[in-house]
């Protein structure tokens, strides 16, 4: 009963326990994990001292899986089974991936998300990404010496709902408790802003391996308010490599080459690009499988010429983001460079020229996202320090519904601050119509066929009425992760349909469970053990949260109300010692239900306190 004593008001609470929380930058080219230790955000290294983990997964002949540098070494030798840049395929169909000719993979055009044929079987990008996350999780557990309370995973700001959902699924497969999906430029702004005590409007220019993001933020007293975001989720350092690769093919007049040679020349291209950051020219030599020798010299001015259009492609999104934010270039106090590709001098020059000021590069562009994610993870895990950090982020792309004539009707506009909910009423088109199809789309284009299809569902059981008489309210809710749920309700009869958007792009719940089971070797006892473990973790989290809440705000409850909650807590604490995960789960639900009113009162009270100085008659939240 020690647990319940600390819930009594007026008594001292348990000493604050530091939760282990990590921030993960799941990058196209490289991934990193960071944590806050002794108040400092630090990147965690592997045993060899590497901070970066190349986002490469190799399915070995003996059935094993390598991730990182070991896998990277295999990319030219075993290209079909060595998957790089899997992030490019997350939540993407084959037609979205585009230029697959230069990629040495055997793609399978499965509905929703593309999959890749490897010797270990057909792999979804979600499973491949999960392998990377598992390694980072192990690295963190090893370095921190304990169970992780949770992780913040970063995603490109311009990722749509399907790509975000895929990322969250990958984390789940890797056994991570996701505290939040955080936009990469926002994470970078946190690391940069806190380090430099920055105030004012900042632009984050984030050119990664495979994605480009630009975010416009207003920083003020620990509040990071995203005003607008834009980007291109298929533009990054990889494209610069590919330009060089094409130039090599052209210069060396090479006939179609093998996947192994393609991979090798792409690697040489990347090395040449990196070399040219500090040098005027790069020599590219490679002996191909057929004995042919490639020996070329690429100058930095040639590279600039080859990639000019790629850099120009990053400027249009900046203009759009500034326009959406209602700001002009003169309003921008600083530009922060993020992503390895911003090391290229021609990128820095172009950005400096555009903004009329030198970009800020004092933080390592490879690490800044992970460092910011770790700071946010620390806050979310409840290790709240003195600095009241608050992130107000936005949804990158408009959400809407298909209406008559294949047109997209916008419900939530892009750059709306999260969380956001909107509703709109629709009506029936035909007399006696009893069902209505609801097609959820994301994008800025007018035609549904130009937008991303997120989900379709149907509202059935509408009572037959004359056309136009039914009143169907469709509500969109986007949570703090940027993930959407949609519900529809016929107002006169109360017929309801609800979905968390997922089906048409992304994995179904069944697929996820299947993958989880496969990855845990599926023995029934293992499943039971896992379910029990999860239920116990849930109950522990909930008991801790309510204990802390009672200690702080117990006075908001009457003795009787408190007694009811305490009894439910005791019941749960007792059940958590048993092996019955169903019973534990039910007790968790019961306790959640019993504390709803308490949660509402606590939040109303804290809002009242904020407004205490205001002339406030009633507060009806």
């Amino acid at each position: 009963m020690a647990l319940l004593q600390i819930a009594e008001p007026g008594m001292s609470t348990a000493p604050h326990q530091h939760k282990l929380a990590i921030g993960i930058d799941l990058g196209t080219t490289n991934s990193l994990v960071a944590t806050v230790r002794s108040g400092m955000s630090t990147v965690l290294h592997d045993k060899e001292g590497h901070a970066l983990l190349p986002s490469v997964v190799h399915y070995r002949e003996d059935g094993g899986i390598d991730v990182g540098y070991v896998a990277q070494a295999q990319q030219s030798l075993d290209p079909h089974n060595t998957i790089i840049s899997a992030k490019r395929f997350m939540g993407r169909g084959l037609k979205d991936v585009g230029d697959t000719v230069q990629l040495p993979y055997q793609f399978i055009d499965t509905p929703g998300m593309v999959q890749i044929q490897t010797r270990a079987g057909i792999k979804s990008p979600v499973e491949i990404s999960a392998e990377i996350l598992k390694v980072l999780k192990q690295r963190a557990e090893h370095a921190l010496g304990g169970e992780l309370a949770g992780a913040v995973i970063t995603v490109p700001a311009y990722f749509d709902d399907a790509q975000r959902q895929a990322t969250k699924d990958a984390a789940r497969l890797a056994g991570l408790n996701v505290l939040r999906l955080l936009n990469e430029p926002t994470a970078a702004a946190v690391a940069y802003g806190l380090d430099n005590a920055a105030e004012g409007v900042y632009v984050i220019y984030d050119l990664g391996g495979g994605t480009f993001d630009v975010s416009v933020l207003r920083l003020s007293k620990g509040v990071f308010e995203v005003l607008a975001t834009n980007g291109d989720s298929a533009l990054g350092g990889d494209d610069f490599d590919r330009r060089i690769f094409c130039w090599i093919l052209e210069q060396a007049k090479l006939a179609p080459i093998s996947p192994e040679d393609t991979r090798q020349l792409l690697t040489k291209s990347r090395e040449a690009k990196e070399w040219l950051t500090d040098h005027a020219e790069a020599r590219i030599t490679s002996l191909l499988k057929n004995g042919e020798l490639v020996d070329l010299t690429l100058t930095s001015s040639k590279l600039k010429e080859l990639t000019q259009h790629l850099i120009a492609k990053t400027l249009a999104p900046i203009k759009k983001a500034l326009r959406d934010a209602g700001l002009s270039i003169e309003d921008v106090k600083g530009v922060v460079m993020v992503g390895g590709a911003t090391r290229m001098p021609q990128v820095r020059h172009a950005v400096a020229e555009f903004f009329g000021q030198d970009p800020l590069t004092n933080l390592d562009p490879d690490k800044v996202v992970a460092l910011g994610a770790a700071i946010q993870a620390n806050v979310l895990a409840g290790n709240r320090g003195e600095d009241d950090l608050l992130l107000l982020d936005v949804i990158p792309l408009s959400l809407g519904l298909e209406t008559m004539g294949g047109l997209a009707e916008r419900i939530i506009p892009r750059n709306a601050t999260l969380p956001v909910a909107r509703a709109q009423d629709f009506t029936t088109f035909k007399d006696g119509q009893t069902a209505m199809s609801i097609h959820v789309v994301q994008g800025e284009r007018e035609l549904v066929s130009d937008c991303r299809s997120l989900a379709r569902f149907e509202l059935r059981g509408i009572p037959p009425m004359a056309a136009g008489a039914a009143r169907i309210r469709v509500t969109f809710q986007v949570d703090a992760d940027g993930l959407l749920s949609v519900s529809a309700r016929e107002q006169t009869s109360g017929v309801e349909a609800h979905i968390v958007v997922k089906p048409s792009y992304g994995l179904s719940e069944d697929e996820i469970i299947n993958m989880l089971e496969t990855s845990f070797k599926s023995a029934e006892t293992d499943k039971q053990a896992r379910a029990l473990q999860e239920a116990r973790v849930d109950s522990q989290r909930l008991l801790e949260a309510i204990t802390a809440a009672l200690a702080k705000d117990g006075a908001l409850l009457s003795e009787k109300e408190k007694q009811i909650i305490v009894e439910k807590m005791q019941a749960l604490a007792e059940l958590a010692k048993t092996e019955n995960h169903h019973a534990i789960h039910d007790a968790v639900e019961a306790l959640n239900l019993a504390t709803e009113e308490f949660a509402a009162r606590r939040m109303d009270a804290s809002v009242r306190q904020v407004l205490a100085g205001q002339d406030l008659k009633t507060l009806e939240l």
Partner: protein, 201 residues
């Protein structure tokens, strides 16, 4: 449309939706001024609004409850959503006036009431023509100039709203001013689209 989407669509034959717009602030049935403890006036202290918004989000935002119970997380999402809605409604002068009128029981009827004074309609037509000409000539500067011209009119109308709502109780006149502002908001959005289209080209 991808083959996958076509296949996943057994509802293709179901009749498509017809939309009927519904203003969101009427949907929420909330007094956004009350939420921030601000007086129900058109002229408000925007700086105070900014500060109060941030303070409230600092208390209720889901990030504050990531480690909380699911009851707390749900409540937090509802309150943070309401705070965002209220802030956006009050920050924008047109939606602030529309909300203020709704609190007074007057609907602005932007979709149904399109009757406008002749001089305002003339101004509309002039602007539309100017946009077309500028687009045809790919003249971004002309569009920018047009944008600042429309903004002047916007400011005049906002002055009128202040007089109509705060100094008098001329709600019907104010409703017409809101309808005018909605018109101009659309023109400005169209100019914005035209500029970004030309910039992309």
């Amino acid at each position: 449309m991808s083959a996958a989407a076509a296949k996943a669509s057994p509802f293709e034959s179901a009749p498509l939706l017809r939309s009927r717009r519904l203003w969101i602030d009427s949907l929420m049935h909330k007094n956004h001024f009350e939420l921030f403890g601000l007086p129900e006036r058109f002229a408000i202290d925007l700086q105070a609004l900014d500060q109060l918004y941030r303070k409230i989000q600092g208390e209720v935002h889901p990030d504050r409850f990531a480690a909380g119970s699911s009851a707390e997380r749900l409540k937090s999402m509802q309150l943070a959503t309401a705070a965002n809605e209220a802030y956006q409604t009050l920050k924008n002068p047109t939606s602030r006036a529309r909300h203020l009128l709704q609190l007074k029981g007057v609907e602005t009827e932007e979709d149904s009431n399109t009757a406008m004074p002749a001089d305002f309609l003339m101004l509309q037509m002039e602007w539309r023509e100017a946009i077309e000409e500028a687009v045809a000539a790919s003249d971004i500067d002309a569009l920018d100039e047009l944008l600042s011209e429309t903004r002047k009119t916007t400011r005049q109308l906002q002055q009128q709203l202040h007089a109509q709502l705060d100094e008098a109780d001329a709600t019907l006149a104010a409703a017409e001013t809101v309808r005018k502002l909605s018109f101009i908001d659309k023109v400005q959005a169209d100019i914005g689209h035209a500029i970004s289209k030309l910039q992309d080209a």
